[in-house]
């Protein structure tokens, strides 16, 4: 089984670009996501929100929270955390 | 036969055995047969005393007076019972192992070896069953002397040096500290008899008690309390069955047994607690057990590492004796048993590795578990017991000592025991990991000598049975047996506790 691991089946064959790898398709998916997000925000008007704490009943609260939170997470990780903690791969080896 | 007769027999059987072994020395099968039979008889005989002791009886032989105050007399109480059982039982196991080891390594002077061993066991029985300090001391010294030829067995410069240090430290500590302590005790209390509740209460103030305790603690060099421990690592030059004798069967056990016995029957738990005279020893023992563990980390030689491990483990027992609360004393007594089985397993393994591959250093053991799975498996179990992990016997004694420490308001003892456990993991477990999970060294083509097995040559594709190259079965079976015993002891602490509780009973 070890041999199987080490030998990708057709490593020599140039990777054929699948549907997902083509740029235009990726753009399509992204657009689809944008549309879904827009619809979800609009649903706020239709569905009565049972707001437990008050502030979570605001329009677009969850969407905004999710988006801002995620961007914050990634940017802090990238610019705040990584410079501090990143070391070479063999840092602990010596 | 009365239990008293069995005491006498316990002394006679190994003595006669020694003579018979010497006489049958020319025929090795006969000689070793005699050894095994003697060992078996001895254990069976000692076992006969157990029921009476469990029922609360204290069988004795009132011997004779040497000079006023000094008597030779024997009495069996629970602690001595336990020690007697351990020593006589492990002698059987060790004898089987010795046969495998001594033959496997083509050791010289084997008859002398078996004779000295039997004499050592006779001395151990004397220590276990002595009724007073004087009798104990005589057998204590006999044990030192009878083991000296064993330590010096190889006869080369290194063995001589190790044996010299062995004898020098043990004899000089006993002469310089132990004898004065005994005589001082005699002059204070007027007796040397082991008496439940102790004999010094009311006869010695706190300072005197503390100084006297120091004389005992350092005078009993066999307990290897730092800084009197140096003989133990030096004695590892001896053949492995001797190391097993030193570390598990008799010698160091006799040391800590003596300290425990003195703590219980000479000083008395109440006296120590009420005067606080043993407080300093708690600190010293704690230091000893931690420092020895740390030093063990630095040793690459397997037997040296195990030797320092023993120093550390003996610290537990001395610690229990120094804390002197009932639970700590019971824990210390239990630890004599638990450590005996754990450590004998580890030493058996070290010897089996030496027999099979002639390797002695930890760093040489890469992948050795592949060819010696039973041996190294036993090592794993023994190591866990030494560390004090369930489900092995070592867990209970450590628990009890720590509980006793809490009773004595020594919270740091609990901390030290816990840290020591981790240090034990750190110096024992890498050996297991190396043996089973490291690939064998590529340059290891069995050089060393002819019958050393090549680890690297062992191919992955071979089945276990094909690649196995264990030491002789006479070596492997005993060590597996003791490993299993470590496991069994986990489930039988109550018998031991019940026995040891008898040690603390003070008749009104």
């Amino acid at each position: 089984m070890r041999e199987e691991q080490l030998k990708p089946d057709n490593a020599a064959v140039p990777a054929q670009k699948g549907w997902l790898e083509r740029k235009e398709n990726v753009t399509k998916i992204a657009w689809a996501l944008y549309v879904v997000c827009a619809i979800l925000v609009l649903l706020d008007f239709l569905i009565h929100r049972h707001a437990e704490m008050g502030f979570d009943g605001n329009f677009g609260f969850y969407g905004a929270y999710g988006f801002i939170g995620s961007v914050f997470l990634v940017l802090v990780a990238k610019y705040g955390l990584r410079p501090i903690v990143k070391r070479s791969e063999d840092y602990y080896d010596d | 036969m009365t239990p008293s007769d069995h005491i006498l027999l316990a002394l006679m059987i190994p003595t006669l055995g020694a003579i018979l072994i010497a006489l049958t020395g020319r025929n090795r099968n006969l000689r070793e047969g005699v050894t095994l039979v003697t060992a078996g008889l001895l254990f069976g005989n000692v076992l006969q005393i157990l029921p009476a002791v469990l029922e609360g009886a204290r069988p004795e032989i009132s011997g004779f007076e040497v000079t006023p105050g000094l008597d030779i007399a024997f009495q069996v109480e629970p602690l001595g019972m336990l020690f007697g059982l351990i020593a006589s039982f492990l002698w059987i196991v060790n004898s089987f192992y010795s046969i495998g080891y001594m033959r496997g390594n083509k050791e010289p002077r084997q008859t002398q070896f078996y004779v000295a061993f039997a004499v050592a066991l006779a001395s151990a029985m004397g220590i276990a069953f002595s009724a007073n300090l004087f009798t104990l001391f005589i057998f204590y010294e006999l044990l030192t002397l009878s083991t000296y030829p064993l330590v010096a067995h190889h006869g080369d410069a290194k063995a001589r040096n190790g044996a010299r240090i062995y004898l020098l430290i043990l004899l000089s500590t006993s002469i310089v500290f132990f004898i004065p302590a005994i005589l001082w005790t005699l002059s204070l209390a007027g007796t040397l008899d082991f008496t439940p509740g102790g004999i010094l209460a009311g006869n010695a103030d706190a300072t005197t008690t503390a100084i006297l305790l120091a004389l005992f603690a350092f005078g009993v060099g066999k307990a290897a309390l730092m800084p009197m421990h140096k003989w133990l690592p030096n004695a590892m030059v001896a053949p492995t069955p001797v190391s097993a004798l030193l570390h598990a069967v008799a010698v160091v056990k006799a040391g800590v047994f003596t300290i425990l016995k003195v703590s219980v029957y000479i000083f008395g738990s109440d006296h120590l607690l009420s005067t606080g005279a043993s407080e300093w020893l708690v600190y010293v023992a704690t230091f000893s057990l931690l420092a020895a563990s740390v030093i063990a980390l630095t040793k690459d030689n397997l037997k040296a590492r195990l030797a320092y491990s023993t120093v550390s483990q003996l610290g537990y027992i001395v610690l229990g004796a120094a804390i002197a609360t009932p639970l700590a004393l019971i824990g210390a007594g239990m630890h004599i048993l638990m450590h005996a089985f754990g450590k004998i397993t580890l030493f058996f393994v070290a010897g089996a590795i030496h027999t099979a591959t002639h390797k002695t250093e930890v760093s040489q053991l890469n992948g050795i578990g592949r060819i010696m799975p039973f041996t190294m498996g036993a090592f794993f179990i023994g190591a866990l017991s030494i560390i004090g992990l369930p489900p092995l016997g070592g867990a209970w004694s450590k628990l009890y000592i720590a509980l006793g420490g809490m009773d004595g308001d020594y919270w740091f003892v609990v901390a030290a025991l816990m840290i020591s456990s981790l240090l034990n993991v750190a110096y024992l477990m890498p050996i297991v990991v190396r043996a089973f999970f490291r690939p064998p060294d590529p340059d290891d083509n069995g050089h060393g000598n002819g019958d050393g097995h090549s680890v690297a040559a062992v191919n992955d594709r071979l089945s276990l049975r094909e690649r196995m190259a264990e030491a002789p079965w006479f070596c492997v079976v005993p060590l597996c047996f003791t490993a299993i015993a470590c496991f069994v002891l986990f489930f039988a602490p109550d018998v031991v506790i019940q026995l040891l509780e008898g040690m603390l009973e003070v008749p009104q």
Partner: protein
Amino acid sequence: MIEFPPGLILILGALPVPFLRGPVRTIWMLALPVAAFVLLYSLPEGNHFAISAFGQQLELLRVDGLSKVFGYIFLIAIFLGVIYSLHVRAIEEHVSGLVYSGAAIGAVFAGDLVSLFVYWELTAISSVFLILASRTPEALAAGMRYLIIQVGSGVLLLAGLIMIWHETGSIAFEHIGIESVGGVLILLAFGIKAAFPLLHNWLQDAYPQATPTGTVLLSAFTTKLAIYALARGYAGTEELIWIGAVMAAFPIFFAVIENDLRRVLAYSLNNQLGFMVVGIGIGTELALNGAAAHAFAHIIYKALLFMSMGAVLHRTGTVLASELGGLYKSMPFTTVFCIIGAASISAFPLFSGFISKSMILSAAAHEGHYFVWGVLLFASAGVFHHSGIKIPFFAFFAHDSGKRPKEAPLNMLIAMALASALCIGIGVWPSALYAILPFHVDYVPYTDSHVLSQVQLLFFSALAFTVLMRTGLYPPELRSTNLDSDWLYRRVGRSILQYCVQTVGSMHSGIYDLVVRRCKRFVEQLYRHHGPHGIIARTWPTGSMVLWVAILLVTYLALYFIDIF
């Protein structure tokens, strides 16, 4: 009816495994969890199996709502784990897996602290082999660290139980609290296994080093056992809320920049534990139910995620995001199962995470912990980010790495399929899970409002991911070592220890050498005077002997006369 600890069935059942071969072994190993499950199902609540030792009752089978739910899920986990690892030849993995799960189950049913301690240490000892079995140098080193930390947790538990035993005279494992020193020590012990902040790093250190199959089992038992123990001993301890909140939030930052996908999962595991700890800290019936339910759901989907990564590792030999991509083409089933796991952990409606995590959030809101609620919500978005998107995206999609491995072996696929089915099943029919929770449940997860909120949160997180990727702001996957609290012991602690060891070692030999040297010098001096040619040992001329006689005589005379007058 048989009243026997189900954990022991697994432990004892593991013993003959080395001697079994082929289908017999397969059937035997599968039968063990099933048998234990049936046994557990038949057990009514109460204490069923006690042994007395050193004057105490050791309760080995305390069955109540809390222990039962953990018992069930542990048995499910080992069942899935056995299937997943059927292709493995190494005996030690099978044995240690069974013993490990048995110990964890035993611990769950332990009614007293001593039995708990016994099982607690047993989980540590048995599980380390799952890491060591990788046999790489890194795995061996990580395994040793893991073992020391786990045993450390055990000894802390021992120290704590000794103090409590000493204080109260009882060893019963009931609510402990942090009023006593012993209680704090035990909390630390549990905290290590539950990967509290700063005590967490063994998890991210060791799990990614374990074998593909080993990680699956590891992810299920150790930490969840700790969660169970916390729920038993520290429910309603306020401090846990804050600890849990930190746990839920901080690992996700590390997860974002981590390249090793199994380590990403380890960070997300840590983050999920945070939710459970918060639930325990709140301590209301709803919160505890939430914690238990979340543990239940979490074990399955986290196992599923680790299984999918294990399959990738098994087939490609790596789980570094920077080396992977495009595997969906040749491993479609694995891809689907991974996405199901990702959806579950992200708490998409109709997946198991949704119906359990929301209980905790609701409980936090109910009790007015708004800030904590906010943190958990942020953490939920973050989870989706790294586990929900990052894992499947970088492994199976992203840029094509050119690797075309075979689909995972059949037994792995079956295990993943079963786990996926459970994930969806729990998500769709939560009432079955709710029915076995420790307290009565009248929680309704599927309300319009709740579903919409959750979907919004997740989609906008996805939106953020998309935007960041397309703008190039998303941090690239880089091969690196990211420092974490392990730096404290792998660098600082190690240096200190080495320093101590060297100091003690050299002091030890130094003092010994000094003594020996002093002795030697002393003996040399003695020899100068007392040796065969020294002044004392020389053969003296007769005249000088007589001189001595005279001197002595004079001395005596002088002394006597002085004495008189």
